[in-house]
């Protein structure tokens, strides 16, 4: 039976995409923002079936187990998928809010921009449910394909071109590596569904070609989540791309990569954790350290956020690093920790990019030294900057501390393991290094003098665009409230433990 309820979010996004193109065609010049509004409404509407599905087990006359499988188990909607789909839709909404004012002001092609952004969100939504290699790959490419174009949206700008070309070449290279891994795994197990690979993996676990396939798949995803040493595209792309696109890439596209990585390694390769566990350990340690150390010497704030998001990818990997020693309860704990981290990271990083956009429009520059005295002539924007940057650093009572807390808890649960403790120590040292460069931004903004070149008089009085203010308010609310009541997002992270192969 075809379950229209379960696939309703994807169908609604599909209709929304057509409407966005239609509205863009009909709207007169100057009113193209209507296409963005349609995309926004569509993404919000797509979240309603998620709520009804989540509530379904409590409703009378609704008899499902909370896990809905379609297409022979290739497409599964479980609680993990519901939580992540909700996060992707919300990321899409906030990215659209960040974009509307930015794109309108600089007279780029507007309708197409919103279309591509919503299309990329659709790919992420599909990835959360993918339970076979082909669906996973198609979802991943649907996330990346539109994102390549969005990164190069400022066609006349050399940096935007460079951002798009680097992102594109690295993106297709990683896709090819990922696919080669998939074809090897398929060739040895004879299955493309995660359940089939899991069943067949025990027999071939010692085959070099199978191990090579698993490693190639990990490398493919490592590019997507910008883990060191596959991160070098990320800072360049974030810096050159339009800032709202960089915000989307650092959250939507990166979380989609993590969803693919977590679901394939837990579901398909759950029986051979001794192959991929140590690799993730190494990736996590190197990614955290290098990301944070290079971020220290950046002067461009968006580039610094690029390296900071590389470092955060390392933190998210930490709970999985000890996977080889975990039992199934331990794996669930790792999923809980990583997803909770990603949920919190999504809000604070989108907020941080929004605050940086506001600060750039006030100070007229993206270089940190030019931001001196921002706290005096734009106290609101400076306040948001402080809020999000301290949250990224993990300072209580802002949401970031809880993300770090569950991460440490999950990796230390393998008590007595030297490797687990070592990684926790590396993560702790990194948290301190990170505090240094986040705090440096806040110090410049509040304590330094206004530089001679700052265009204080006119720009400071221009109010923020309403959509940017709304996005900032929304993310700031989540960051502050989650900091005081971590249960708000931990509840969803907890629900995401139900990552299943099907009913």
């Amino acid at each position: 039976m075809f379950d229209y309820h379960a696939i309703a979010p994807e169908l609604i996004i599909g209709v929304t995409l057509l409407l966005v193109i239609g509205v863009d065609l009909l709207a007169p010049p100057g009113r193209k923002y209507l296409a963005g509004v349609v995309g926004l409404v569509g993404l919000v509407a797509a979240a309603f079936p998620l709520l009804t599905m989540a509530a379904c087990s409590d409703l009378a006359g609704c008899t499902d187990t909370g896990v809905r499988a379609m297409f022979d188990g290739s497409y599964v909607v479980d609680d993990f998928a519901l939580v992540l789909k909700g996060l992707f839709l919300l990321t899409g909404v906030i990215s659209l809010l960040l974009s509307v004012g930015y794109i309108e002001k600089d007279r780029y092609y507007e309708g197409e921009f919103y279309f591509l952004l919503v299309a990329s969100v659709a790919g992420a939504v599909i990835m959360a449910s993918a339970r076979d290699l082909i669906t996973l790959f198609i979802g991943l490419e649907l996330v990346s394909g539109p994102a390549f174009l969005l990164a190069g949206w400022r066609k006349g700008d050399v940096r935007s071109n460079e951002a798009a070309l680097k992102f594109f070449l690295m993106g297709v290279l990683s896709a090819a590596i990922l696919l080669f891994g998939m074809s090897l795994v398929y060739g040895l197990t004879g299955e493309i569904t995660f359940s089939g690979i899991r069943a067949g993996s025990a027999v071939v676990a010692d085959e070099p070609a199978f191990i090579l396939g698993v490693v190639f798949i990990l490398v493919g995803f490592a590019f997507k989540i910008s883990a060191v040493p596959f991160h070098f595209w990320a800072p360049d792309t974030y810096q050159g791309a339009p800032t709202p696109v960089a915000a989307y890439l650092s959250v939507g596209s990166k979380v989609a990569g993590f969803v693919g990585l977590i679901s394939i390694s837990y579901l398909a390769f759950g029986g051979v954790a001794e192959i991929w566990g140590p690799i993730l350990w190494l990736l996590a340690a190197v990614t955290m350290t290098l990301g944070n150390l290079v971020a220290l010497k950046q002067t461009n704030v968006i580039r610094m956020l690029g390296y900071s998001s590389v470092a955060h990818a390392g933190f998210v990997l930490v709970p999985f690093a000890m996977a080889a020693t975990f039992d199934s309860a331990g794996m669930e704990e790792a999923i809980f920790a990583s997803i909770t981290y990603l949920l919190i990271y999504a809000f604070m990083n989108l907020g941080a990019f929004g605050a940086v956009m506001a600060a750039v429009s006030k100070s007229g520059s993206g270089e940190l030294p030019d931001w001196g005295g921002l706290g005096r002539y734009a106290p609101g924007v400076a306040g948001f900057l402080g809020l999000f940057f301290f949250s990224l650093a993990g300072i209580p009572p802002l949401a970031g501390w809880f993300a770090k807390f569950v991460m440490f808890k999950a990796v230390l649960q393998a008590s007595g393991s030297v490797w687990g403790v070592t990684l926790a120590v590396i993560a702790a040292v990194n948290a301190v290094i990170a505090l240094f460069y986040y705090a440096r931004v806040v110090k410049t903004v509040f304590m330094d003098d206004v530089p001679e070149t700052a265009p204080v008089d006119e720009a400071a009085r221009t109010p923020l665009s309403p959509s940017l203010a709304l996005a900032l308010g929304l993310t700031a609310f989540m960051v502050v409230v989650t900091g005081f009541f971590p249960q708000l997002l931990a509840f969803f992270g907890d629900a995401a433990r139900a990552l299943t192969l099907g009913p």
Binding site: F137, L149, K166, A176, L179, G190
Partner: protein, 101 residues
């Protein structure tokens, strides 16, 4: 001598390596992009050989998806390369180094 699936796998591995070397060694964006296509074709060969060997159609079906995605990537990639070329009159990636550090 019969051609066993192992030979196809070996050929695919060689093609993949040639493609990967092309990415690393060549500096023209178009040639790098062609190298990626070579890698994707190595993937296709592996999928088909494995599917034929196992007698299940999943592999052949996967190839169709890979080809469609590769075609979509050509559209996106050529658009970006043309945009770069219009701005700078070159498609060499060594010239694209505005951002460093």
């Amino acid at each position: 001598m019969t051609v066993t699936p192992g030979w196809y796998m070996a050929l695919a591995a060689v093609l993949f390596t040639i493609g990967a070397s092309g990415i690393l060694l060549r500096r023209n964006a178009l040639v790098m992009f062609m190298s990626v296509e070579l890698m994707l074709n190595a993937v296709n060969l592996t999928f088909v050989a494995a599917g034929r060997n196992l007698n299940v159609l999943d592999g052949q079906v996967s190839v169709f998806f890979v080809m469609v995605v590769a075609a979509a990537e050509v559209v996106v990639g050529l658009a970006i390369i043309v945009a770069v070329f219009r701005r700078r009159q070159t498609a060499s990636v060594d010239e694209l180094s505005e951002m460093r550090g």
